[in-house]
Subunit: 433 residues, 2 copies
C-alpha cells in the first residue's frame, strides 16, 4: 500500500512519540460539561492520560494503511483523491476570543490525528467512558476503517478581521493575498453557502467516515465555532496520481486530465505550496484553498448536440482526447481550428494563462431538486494554489468560456491552509507564535 | 459471486431472448425530438434494431456480476443492500394520458434493464450516436461498472386517482390498501418531500451510478412525468443477508439486526410479497414500499448520557446486544426490567405487534445544515411489506417510543411495487392487462 501513501506527509509516528503534549484537553472536557454531566471529566481525563496511541489502539478493522495527520504538509491536498467529501465552513462564535481559537485548533488537531488513524475522537470514544455521561464520540464510525480519511483545516479572511474587528489579535498576520474573491462575470453567489472563518475538508472512501469526522469536529467546536454551511460530494472530479483513472463530471466528460500530480514535486513547489520566500512566513509549506459551488444546468446540457458538447469542452466526450487529435494525454494543439478559441480546455490551459496552474480536488454533488423538477446538481470545485491570484487569473480567463451558458457559480470561499502540524503540535500553531 | 445474487430474481437471459419486443421506442425518440434534432431518430433506431444484448454488450469494466432486471420480483427489495441510494418521486404531467403512462413504464423498463447490466440507456449511448444530435445517455457512468445497481419502480395512490380524477383509467384497479398513510403522532411532514404518482429507488455501490440512473430516467420521462422530490442516501441502515455486517445509523447504533433476511423465504412470503391469495391480482409477487424521511436531532442526541441512549434503544451502543443480556443476535427478553417498556426495540418487536414484521432497507442522509448550524441529517427509512397496514401498526406502536424526542418524520410516501417484469415485458404490465 506504500504507493498509496501521500509522499508529502510523513509516516505515522510511533506511539510513544505521538502524544500531543501541547494539545488542549479543554474541548473534550467542555463537551462533557455541555452535556451537563460533570462526572465525565474523570472518564475523559483517564482516557487522555493514555495519550494517542496511533497505530496500536486500532479499534476499527483497517483495510488500508491510514494517512498520517502530522507532517510537512496537511494531508488532503496531494493525497490520492478519495471517493467522498464532506466539506464544512465554520464561523467563530460572537464572543469567542484568541484562547477559544487556539484551543479549538488544538482540539480539532487532536481529534483529527485520531480519526484519520481509524480511532475515535478520544480514548473512551463512543462506549468506553462513564455511562452516566454523554459519549465523547458519536459512534456511527464504530467498526469502520480509517477509509483513507484526511482532514484539512483552513483559515478564511474573516478570521483575521471582520466587521467586529481584530477579534483574535491576528489581523496583522493576515496574508496579503487572503481576501474575499473578487466578483466574476456571471457570479450568482448565495451568501449562506459562501465564505466562513474556518473550513474543514474531510475526504474518505466511505461517506459515513467523512460525515462522522465533520459531525464530531462540529461538536468539539461547540461554544467556540458554529457550522456555517456544509457540502457533501461524491465521484471525485480530479486525479492526483497516475494510477487514478480520470473521473467524469456530471456533464459526462472526463475532468482533471491535466491536473498537477502528487509526484510532480517541481510543479507542486511552483504552483501549490507557499514557499519559504513567500510571505507570510507562518504559512510556508501551506497553500490556499478555493471552493466554488458550481451548479450545472444538466437538463439543458443534456439537450446539446454531442458535437457541440465536444466543442464547448475542447475534448471528445468518450476518450477525453483533445479535438486537435491523439488520445486523452496528448498535448492540446491550439494551432488547429478543431479546438474552439472559447473552449473550456483552451481558456483554462497554462499556455493561455502565462503558465498558471492549480491543483484541482473537486467533487460532484446532487442535493435533491428544485420545485421545477430540475436536479440541484453540479461540481463542488476545490483547488489548491500557492496564491489565490492563480485561481483569479484562471477564472477571469474563463469569462468567455462556452460552458458558462450551462453553469452558475452559486457558492464561493477562500482559505489559507497552514502547513501540516508537527508531532505534538496543532494545525496553525505558527500563526500564534 | 453467485452467493451475492438475489435469489428472487432470475439470471439474466441470453442475448437472443432479451430483446424487449413490446417496449416502446417512443421515449427515446421523444428525447431526441425534445432536443430539436430530428436526425437522432436514425441513430437511435439503429441502436434499438440491435436489441438489448444483455451480458454481451458490456461497455464498462464490471467488477461484480450485475443483478438481473427481469424476474419474478423486482430487484432492490431482497437484493443485498448496496452502499448508496438515489430515491426519486415523480408526478405525471397534467395532460398526460394512459398511453403516456404505459410508454413511460416501457421506456423506463428498457433503460433500467440496460443500466442495471452496466450498459448505457441505449445502444448508441453517450457517444455512439449521430454527433449532430444530443446523446441518448448523459455519460457520467462511462467507464463505471454496474456497481450492483438495482432500479425498483412503484405506483403511488395518486397515480390511480387524484384531484383530477381517474386520469389513466386505472382507478378501479387501485389496491384497497394503497392510500396515503394516516397522520401519526408527531408527524411534521413537508408536502414537497412527500408522496408522488411514481417512485424509483436506485441503489448501487457507486453513488455516481445511482445518480446517473435517476438522472437518465428523469430525462426519459420528459414531457410525461416530472421529478417531484429526490433523496440521496449512504451507509445503508439494514442488512438483508447474514454475511452483511449490521451497519450503524447516525445515532451511532447498529440498525437492522432483526431485519428479514433475503434467504428466509417463509418470512418473505408471509411479510413482504403480495400473495396470490391477496388482492389485487395484478400486484401478486409485488410488495408495498413505505418511505419516511426521518430527521434526527443529532446535536441533542449527542448530549444524552450513554446509559440513557442505551435505554432509549434497548440495546447497548457498542455491540448492539439486548440490554436483557447476550450478544447482538440474542433474542430480546422483555421479562427483564433492563429493557424499558418504551424502548425502541421493544415497541418495534414482532412479539409486541401481533407478529408483524417488515423488510427494512433504509439509508442515512446528510443534506447540509440549517442556518443555526445543525446538520440536516437523519434516516431515510424504506420498508417493504405485504400490506401497508404492517407499517401503520408498527408506527402506531412507536407512538410512545422514547426515541421520538430526538427524531421528526418530515417526509412520507407509500407506493405499490409490482412484481418483476417478465423478459421482454415491462414493470407494471399486469396493471394494464
Amino acid at each position: 500500500m506504500s504507493d498509496h501513501r501521500d509522499p508529502n506527509t510523513e509516516p505515522a509516528p510511533p506511539a510513544d512519540q505521538a502524544r500531543p503534549t501541547s494539545l488542549s484537553r479543554r474541548g473534550l472536557l467542555g463537551l462533557a460539561l455541555g452535556g451537563g454531566a460533570a462526572g465525565l471529566a474523570v472518564g475523559v481525563g483517564a482516557g487522555l492520560a493514555g495519550g494517542i496511541a496511533i497505530g496500536r489502539e486500532r479499534e476499527r478493522s483497517a483495510t488500508d494503511a491510514p494517512f498520517a495527520f502530522f507532517g510537512a504538509h496537511q494531508a488532503g491536498i496531494t493525497t490520492p483523491v478519495q471517493d467522498h467529501l464532506h466539506f464544512a465552513s465554520f464561523d467563530m462564535m460572537p464572543r469567542s476570543d484568541r484562547d477559544d481559537l487556539v484551543t479549538l485548533l488544538q482540539d480539532w488537531s487532536y481529534a483529527a490525528s485520531r480519526m484519520t488513524q481509524g480511532l475515535e475522537v478520544s480514548a473512551t470514544g463512543a462506549v468506553g467512558g462513564d455511562a452516566q455521561t454523554p459519549p465523547d464520540d458519536t459512534g456511527e464510525a464504530q467498526g469502520l476503517s480509517a477509509s483513507g480519511l484526511t482532514i484539512t483545516i483552513g483559515f478564511g479572511p474573516t478570521l483575521f478581521e471582520n466587521a467586529d474587528g481584530d477579534r483574535f489579535g491576528i489581523a496583522d498576520r493576515r496574508p496579503a493575498g487572503l481576501e474575499r474573491l473578487p466578483a466574476f462575470l456571471g457570479d450568482d453567489l448565495n451568501p449562506e453557502t459562501s465564505d466562513g472563518d474556518l473550513c474543514i475538508q474531510a475526504c474518505a472512501d466511505d461517506p459515513q467516515v467523512a460525515v462522522h469526522a465533520i459531525r464530531n469536529l462540529s461538536r468539539i467546536a461547540f461554544g467556540r465555532a458554529r457550522l456555517r454551511w456544509s457540502q457533501l460530494g461524491f465521484g471525485r472530479t480530479s486525479r492526483t496520481t497516475t494510477d487514478q483513472a480520470t473521473p467524469r463530471n456530471l456533464f459526462g466528460f472526463k475532468d482533471g486530465t491535466a491536473n498537477i500530480l502528487s509526484d510532480d514535486a517541481a510543479a507542486l513547489d511552483e504552483h501549490v505550496w507557499v514557499a519559504a520566500s513567500d510571505e507570510p512566513q507562518w504559512l510556508r509549506g501551506g497553500s490556499y484553498l478555493v471552493a466554488r459551488r458550481i451548479a450545472m444546468i444538466v437538463e439543458t446540457w443534456d439537450r446539446v448536440r454531442l458535437a457541440e458538447q465536444d466543442r464547448i469542452i475542447g475534448r471528445d466526450k468518450g476518450e477525453g482526447a483533445p479535438l486537435s487529435g491523439g488520445h486523452e494525454f496528448t498535448d492540446l494543439d491550439f494551432t488547429k481550428a478543431a479546438i474552439d478559441e472559447n473552449s473550456h480546455v483552451r481558456l483554462a490551459h497554462p499556455s493561455q494563462n502565462a503558465g498558471v496552474r492549480i491543483l484541482r480536488r473537486g467533487y460532484n454533488f446532487v442535493d435533491g431538486n428544485s420545485s421545477l423538477g430540475r436536479l440541484d446538481a453540479g461540481l463542488f470545485f476545490l483547488s489548491y494554489q500557492r496564491d489565490p491570484q492563480q485561481f483569479i487569473a484562471l477564472q477571469r480567463s474563463l469569462s468567455t468560456d462556452l460552458m458558462n451558458e450551462y453553469i452558475r457559480h452559486v457558492g464561493s470561499g477562500v482559505w489559507a491552509v497552514p502547513s501540516g502540524a508537527r508531532d505534538g503540535s496543532y494545525v496553525g500553531a505558527e500563526l500564534f507564535d
